[in-house]
């Protein structure tokens, strides 16, 4: 999916569910600027890290975590999901639109799902446009 602007997407990911070398990212490189933030477990996705990504001009933030029940640290991905829901509400209150933030459970190496996630994010951004707090 091609958007009318070059979106900036920050991806927080758990090293147990995903690697940056995925071919899906090579394909998307000319459609979006992607910043990766690698985490030892998705439970490390703190509210403030997500907000700082928006402060640093991200148009959208994606959080990739392992499927439920498969977190190496038992409940990291459940914590990440609850926090994400909370931050989505805060983004709505701020007026940034909570749809700019989303969390997905993906199996390591599931390229097809990854492609769908990125495509879905680009469609949302096409509808929402650049972040209203993006500076350049």
């Amino acid at each position: 999916m091609q958007t009318t602007f070059t979106p900036r997407i920050t991806i927080f990911y758990c090293i147990n569910s995903f690697t940056e070398t995925s071919s899906v990212f090579c394909e998307i490189e000319n459609q979006a600027e992607i910043t990766f933030v690698k985490l030892p477990c998705s439970s490390m996705v703190k509210d403030v890290f997500v907000l700082r990504a928006f402060e640093a001009d991200a148009d959208a933030v994606i959080i990739l975590v392992c499927p439920e029940g498969q977190c190496r640290f038992v409940e990291g991905n459940i914590r990440a999901k609850k926090r994400t829901t909370w931050v989505c509400g805060l983004l709505d209150d701020i007026g940034l639109d909570g749809r700019r933030l989303s969390l997905f459970n993906v199996k390591s190496g599931d390229e097809a799902s990854l492609e769908k996630i990125l495509d879905g994010t680009l469609s949302v951004l096409e509808e929402l446009g650049p972040s209203p707090v993006r500076r350049n």
Partner: protein
């Protein structure tokens, strides 16, 4: 501990709107435990204020700092330089902390970022329950250490009211009936006889009804 809840961002943004340099000041004790005003919440709120201000085209510099306790001068002192650098302070402490900061830095506007809610207990991670109303004359010994003043919706000192069902309060079925708990606890302690004693109406002079209270410990004052 004192339990509080952060105010909604819509209210906070209006409060801070007149200022250009804001210090968001957290408190690392009670309000940290209830996720309203510790380091993490201070950082989140500071970021949220920067974002909402940028969205609305306002310029504001936001600094963050958390001190151990805002209700003690020793710790308040640690915030002095940061307070000096800013034109206003948004305190995330309870109402006592906000007032202590305002008293110490008389020329600075000090704004409350938290709604102070109750004196309570951390029941389990993320769940806080109200347990004491600070009545100033504790009678827990009579009630098996379950406070009817706070936990009975009708504040009955000679309960139960007769309306509780299956251990739940008739006023709110999500709440355990305080009198059921009192009786169960007295049973365990072998003190059911406490129920025979008539408890006279409470003298509310010792509560806030007698005006603001003060505690003086001469032995600690030099």
């Amino acid at each position: 501990m004192i339990v509080g809840e952060q105010k909604p961002i819509a209210e906070i943004k209006e409060m801070v709107a007149p200022y250009k340099k804001l210090l968001v000041l957290g408190c690392g004790t009670c309000v940290k435990t209830c996720f309203a005003g510790g380091e993490d919440e201070t950082a989140v709120l500071a970021s949220a204020i920067r974002l909402v201000s940028r969205k609305e085209g306002r310029t504001i510099e936001v600094e963050e700092l958390t001190v151990e306790r805002q209700c003690e001068n020793e710790f308040i002192q640690e915030a002095a330089e940061a307070v000096g650098r800013n034109d206003s302070v948004l305190s995330l402490a309870c109402g006592a902390g906000v007032q202590a900061i305002a008293r110490r830095f008389v020329t600075k506007p000090v704004l409350p970022g938290v709604n102070t809610t109750f004196i309570g207990v951390l029941e389990k991670q993320g769940l806080f329950t109200e347990e004491c109303s600070g009545c100033g004359n504790c009678e827990l010994a009579l009630f098996g250490a379950v406070c009817p003043v706070t936990r009975c919706a009708k504040k009955l000192l000679n309960g139960p009211c007769g309306g509780s069902q299956a251990g739940k309060c008739e006023v709110n079925p999500d709440t355990d009936c305080a009198w059921q708990m009192i009786i169960e606890r007295l049973k365990i302690l072998g003190q059911l006889d406490n129920l025979r004693a008539y408890v006279p109406p409470k003298n509310w002079n010792t509560s806030t009804s007698g005006g603001p209270r003060k505690l003086v410990r001469e032995d600690h004052i030099i």
